[in-house]
Symmetry: C2
Subunit: 342 residues, 2 copies
């Protein structure tokens, strides 16, 4: 076996780095009143998006993102070999109804809010492994469908704790392919499940921070990269509470990330003015932040090397009620604006 693709225990380095051909973001009204105002490809003011349920609205968000990213790319839908997608809804039904109309082979994923990095990792592997010429990665979330499913009926008007995060309404989609233009995905570091025993489902940032630190530390150890090799190490979505913890854990691991770190949950909303407490969350948060803002900054060379680290809290609605703690995961994807020799 040619071992050159594996670095250390969790990382692969691509021999033929897949190119990000196009990206597309669609987001809700509140998202477009935040820090990324005007950067989304499309915004939708109606939380129902013309549908009869929030679940259907969420599906329509992803469907629009998939159609949008294909249209932007100019690639024929028939030439796309795989869709990798998932979401937060029970049985990932958001993705299934979104993907239903496409005649493209589909791999369904569940990685909670790590899904954008998981789908990018697998889509990139499918291309570098020569299984695909073009592959789509996507995820979505919706504030109302998530609140209804994970917390309380919206009508109840429950008080949110200070550590709670606000689920982003939106979807992002990325088309990867063999192409001779940056941005490229050059490395992926796949996370292990980390569970430090946190049981508070209203403090996901604290639960996920150790998983993020574990994955980013593995990335540095496997590749030999240092925080200074990056313009931006962007987690999603630890929020304010989790981000502080992440940087503290990284320092304990010997890596000072604070000056290059940001978090999608902190990049999307004005925390005080928009009353989002610890920041944004949901699969859609890191997806739309990546697709609306980060990738644009990579394309125009404001950013050159980015480590995208989507983080997921892998609990269910019932597992904390059964006394379980929250298993978490994070996956790292290195995206570069540099030319990469094939």
């Amino acid at each position: 076996m040619n071992k050159t693709k594996r670095l250390g225990s969790q990382t692969v380095k691509f021999e033929n780095p897949p190119s990000i051909i196009s990206e597309y973001s669609i987001a809700g009204k509140k998202e477009n009143e935040g820090k990324l105002k005007g950067r989304f490809d499309k915004t939708v003011d109606d939380a129902m998006f013309g549908e009869k349920s929030w679940e259907k609205a969420e599906s329509k968000l992803m469907k629009s993102a998939l159609h949008g990213v294909i249209a932007k790319s100019g690639i024929d839908e028939n030439d796309i070999n795989y869709i990798f997608a998932g979401d937060l809804l029970n049985q990932c039904s958001g993705s299934h109804y979104a993907v239903r109309g496409f005649k493209i082979p589909f791999f369904g994923l569940y990685g909670a809010c790590s899904t954008m990095a998981e789908s990018l990792s697998l889509a990139a592997m499918s291309i570098d492994g020569e299984f695909a010429r073009y592959a789509l990665a996507s995820t979505s979330s919706h504030f109302c469908s998530a609140e209804k499913q994970f917390r309380f009926p919206l009508e109840y008007g429950g008080q949110r704790t200070p550590t709670a995060q606000w689920t982003v309404t939106g979807s992002g989609a990325i088309l990867l392919g063999r192409h001779d233009k940056p941005p490229y995905i050059t490395h992926v570091t796949t996370g292990k499940i980390v569970d430090m025993g946190i049981k508070d489902a209203n403090n996901m940032g604290a639960a996920m921070a150790p998983a993020a630190a574990d994955a980013v530390t593995a990335h540095f150890e496997d590749t030999g990269f240092l925080p200074s090799d990056y313009d931006l190490i962007v987690t999603g979505d630890l929020g304010y509470v989790g981000s502080e913890l992440f940087n503290r854990l990284m320092k304990e691991n010997g890596f000072d990330t604070e000056h290059v770190h940001n978090d999608c949950g902190c990049m999307i909303f004005y925390e005080k003015e928009q009353d989002v407490h610890s920041g944004g969350s949901g699969c859609g948060c890191s997806a739309v932040t990546l697709c609306s803002s980060i990738l644009k900054d990579i394309r125009n060379k404001k950013l050159n090397n980015v480590l995208f680290v989507a983080t997921g809290a892998l609990l269910s609605r019932s597992s904390p009620l059964q006394g379980e703690s929250i298993p978490c995961i994070a996956h790292c994807v290195k995206i570069t604006s540099a030319e990469v020799a094939e």
Copy 2:
């Protein structure tokens, strides 16, 4: 791009076919009273498996299967590069609590009852693509956790319709790797979502049969194989109702599969004596049937070429209540007992 790995629109042919190093099955009491009695690696008479909830019991089934398959293989856990796994529980919590104790990078999947084929496909791609030397594929289901989540409280004693299937309690796990011994996985055909408008969540076999026929037809068209190239084309889990429909659809597509077709949902239970109506179902059904019976028959050359076609109904608990039909998918994995030149 070296295009030789892709055949047609949905299939890849591996250049270095991954070997099935070991497989492990664990199943419940009712399963061990059925047609596969005595063939499981382990059986558990207690539906709670010593735990305090059915969900925790299901997790423990998968955890046992993962430990079991690693122990059987003789491979060091630290040498395993990925786990690909998923289950039916909301947010796939069965898998997450099962995988939590392993220090192995994890990709979470949701493919409903297609998960065993989805996880095998991606694990095989990770090895052929040289991203992994060893990779695990696993899934589970549990009758009680599935009934509770998808249908009625067990205590209610609801009547089951004649087309209903019985969710298997069990888990299967397979370790793939670079090895010089059969069985090998040589081809995977990845399914598209097919939705023929069926809305009856008690007739999943009929909903899934068109997806299975679509994927198997694509497999034949992409590869040039014919039904006569196989000793067994095994769907899972269409049950009796769906199997009949599958063979009829295949005939319409020009392929006579009836004489080589069987279905994991029909292979596991005695339908009348065990009162399972249209047969077994659940992610665990095709997983334990493959791991307890089919792979053993391939190892002892009773079977030489098998097309394993796990099928999934991608509905959620709420989507049919919102008037939605059932999107379905099926993935094909070719397993052979023949020696394959590297």
